[in-house]
Symmetry: C2
Subunit: 534 residues, 2 copies
Amino acid sequence: MLTRPLQLLHKHRPTLLNPSIRLSSTAVLDSTTEEINHAMSKAASAFPIFSSASTGQVSTLLHNIAQEIEALGDELIDTAVSESSLPEPRIRGETARTTGQLRAFAALVEQGSWVDARLDVGGGTGRDIRRMLRPLGPAVVFGASNFPLAFSVAGGDTAAALAAKCPVVHKAHPAHPRTCELVSGAIKRAVSSSGLPEGTFSMVQGASPRVGQELVAHPHTKVGGFTGSLHAGRALFDIANARPNPIPFYAEMGSVNPVVVLPGALGSKWEQIAAGLAGSVTLGAGQFCTNPGLVFTAPGTGCAKDATMVSKFITEVARHVDNIPPSAMLTEHIHQEYIKNIDRMAIGVTKDIQIKTKRKRGSDSGGIVLHVSGAVFLKHAQELQEEVFGPSTLIVEFENQEQLNQGLVQLKGQLTATIWGNRDDFQQPSFSTVLQLVTERVGRVLFNGFPTGVEVCSAMVHGGPYPASSIDETSVGTEAIRRFTRPVCYQDCPDSLLPIELQDANAHGIFRKVNNEYTTEGVLVEEFTKKTVV
Amino acid sequence: MLTRPLQLLHKHRPTLLNPSIRLSSTAVLDSTTEEINHAMSKAASAFPIFSSASTGQVSTLLHNIAQEIEALGDELIDTAVSESSLPEPRIRGETARTTGQLRAFAALVEQGSWVDARLDVGGGTGRDIRRMLRPLGPAVVFGASNFPLAFSVAGGDTAAALAAKCPVVHKAHPAHPRTCELVSGAIKRAVSSSGLPEGTFSMVQGASPRVGQELVAHPHTKVGGFTGSLHAGRALFDIANARPNPIPFYAEMGSVNPVVVLPGALGSKWEQIAAGLAGSVTLGAGQFCTNPGLVFTAPGTGCAKDATMVSKFITEVARHVDNIPPSAMLTEHIHQEYIKNIDRMAIGVTKDIQIKTKRKRGSDSGGIVLHVSGAVFLKHAQELQEEVFGPSTLIVEFENQEQLNQGLVQLKGQLTATIWGNRDDFQQPSFSTVLQLVTERVGRVLFNGFPTGVEVCSAMVHGGPYPASSIDETSVGTEAIRRFTRPVCYQDCPDSLLPIELQDANAHGIFRKVNNEYTTEGVLVEEFTKKTVV
């Protein structure tokens, strides 16, 4: 998601744009190996206790964290605004999203069915086999630069890991160290007031890649969660897999989120699409994993039978983008990378790219619209779909639907793809191929909308085939909890020794699959074969 | 699970024990790179069609495969018996298990709820987000030597992958090539009669590791399933992770399946446990992933307050094992490895190991019971828990419960652990620690039983922390299907374009999570916000 490789962080830190960061970031001392070992050892010691906590305790912990974050009040808002350069309303919204996520996981835990309990009891063999999801163990979670709260210390990965009863060691992002310290303090107070062991949550700081590498390689670490650049994510994923005992490392590494505008929609709604696209591209200075960085168009039957329509659309997108005032980027380094990437695309890859906005370079971090023909795109398809982290988009003008399909075939894994179409478009015989090609390559398919804005809900998938994610699962929404768990089954276990979710009585009334039927009822083991205790 | 490293296959093939194999195995020509490319290309071409198949078609395919296997009749039984040296009743049982697995997946697909559908519709934001599990793409499946049918060409991995709508390219195990050819033919006839594309299933042969390596590295491959040795499984897992676009590679690599005999159970049931253990250790010449290769004992309170009890138990296990006649192993190479591993344990690792059976070496492939003190085990814990593929077990005599717990802490990841205990044992304050230590390290915890015999059901977990599995998921039971899928979500998708599982009507009446409630009802979108089509 970020273009900033982890190892450059240190070098570039003194050039940060926002003067208020200079003070705080010089205070970011890389945690030592001893400090990392200490945090991991505390997490390992906490695991047997935390993993035995009741659902009530876990839910209380998550609610308490949300309350402690709210109690930080304006100090948190001011600090995050000053460290991130993001506007106050955005930071307030992100704080609400962060506490909302924590409460969504609390509700998930309270309801309880997420453990995916299955019981196979009775039957000819007298079997009694019961299975549920259990926590993996200590989790290492990396904060992202672009969401100083919602994907940071108490962000989605931390909330999901704690909900699964995995102790968390958080690696703070050096772009907002004081914000991290504030939130870390809030979590620690919540851990303490919830009666859980201190090692349930720790935070380490570090701008050096060594810190993250040591965390992922640490023998006590059982799972990792990461949001950031492909470069850093892949490096850490490789470390996780090269361990003597490999661990799952879930890295969400962003994408270009293609938008396919079909001819019918282009003909009838080109003005609406152009305005919406311009807003989505420039939202938050384009610093979102779901920023739509690539747009596919082609003339076709119906309203948009000739290429004039495509040209009008491109001009309209550029006009809107030109009218949107630039906003500050998260760090000066990200800004410099933005300038460099635009130059790379427009000059380095091919000279056949045109810039359609008045703004030709990213010097003021404002939006830029690029345009290329389908034939040229197909020639440079790999380079032209590299993520540009910032408010730009590349509109590809294919000659016809078949050439557009060739473009889809070239796409790497994506977090999202968006299809704009009308009834005519969806009834074309060729449409099923478009939908198939798109669906195979993405985690989320949107229709007639824009990909920015990722709702935290049960059905959300924020992840996708590599390189969007290292492992194709979601990092947003309550299903993110699955990544911090493993299935465990108990065979002929005396009822009182089972986790409450698997006991005969089903005291929490959760949904369970019992002999292949879904039910919230308990089981009457008398009906089956009594479990024998010697 | 196997002790035979993949790269030794070629070299050792001429020394195979069973003369009938010589002929067939010289006929195993390694598939060429061109043949592998051809199989993978066919699978990739089949994917868009197969992944769009109806649940009825998939269910028909699985039923047809089962019928075609049954139609092979005695030819299949005779061939598998002759190639594997396994007794006919075992092969008949394994054939029934194989067709049973295929029909269990057919039933799962017909019922349909396995796709884990979630709908978040309506609400303040007018959202319409719907998610389900979808097939990953072409799967590469490796057959195992020790189950020439149930973990082979039409075994659990193939059945799970096809049920998920992933085309399969199967790598036949060179220990039973003619059996593989027969079953492959059966699957191909079923694919054809089910009206599915030819590339839905292909088989390649090969004794050279190159064949497997090329399959896992192939750009069209999206997921892999494997049952075999740690050596070969890890090598292939590393290839899968080192790809430019890494893929999940699910390797089940066996374990020593510790059995913990608590003092109360030892005191009251030592004869029953000894007889059962001897049977489990020697079953199928010990050639099972779940073979109990390690037994932990300690004197304690109650009936077994002194060490005499432990000694009596060990002597009894050895007496039973001595009375069980040896049976032929799968291949001469596996037999030679068995001899070598027993010698390594009993001489190479430490001289403080005693052999309690009359049989002191694995020369006739009969059962062997080894004995070591807890103190010596703790000194050599890593070497002494290396899997010996064959009918042997190592009984560790700890001095007390605390020392036994130290032994548990040293355990690597295991497929199973078994606890023998009575009411007294389970009521000891120390018991919760034993249960915790065991549960963290295994996929399946058994009580008062033996780990051999893995039931194919919804709650089964046959997998565990590394090195039992490369990724901690199950390869047996219907949940094995999860490994061949990825979550995909659709946002604001017109109803008619959605997969039937996510459409408003819920025509198949599957269980879905709708706005966080589980239901088999359809949704009335009028209640929420109508999806708009331009």
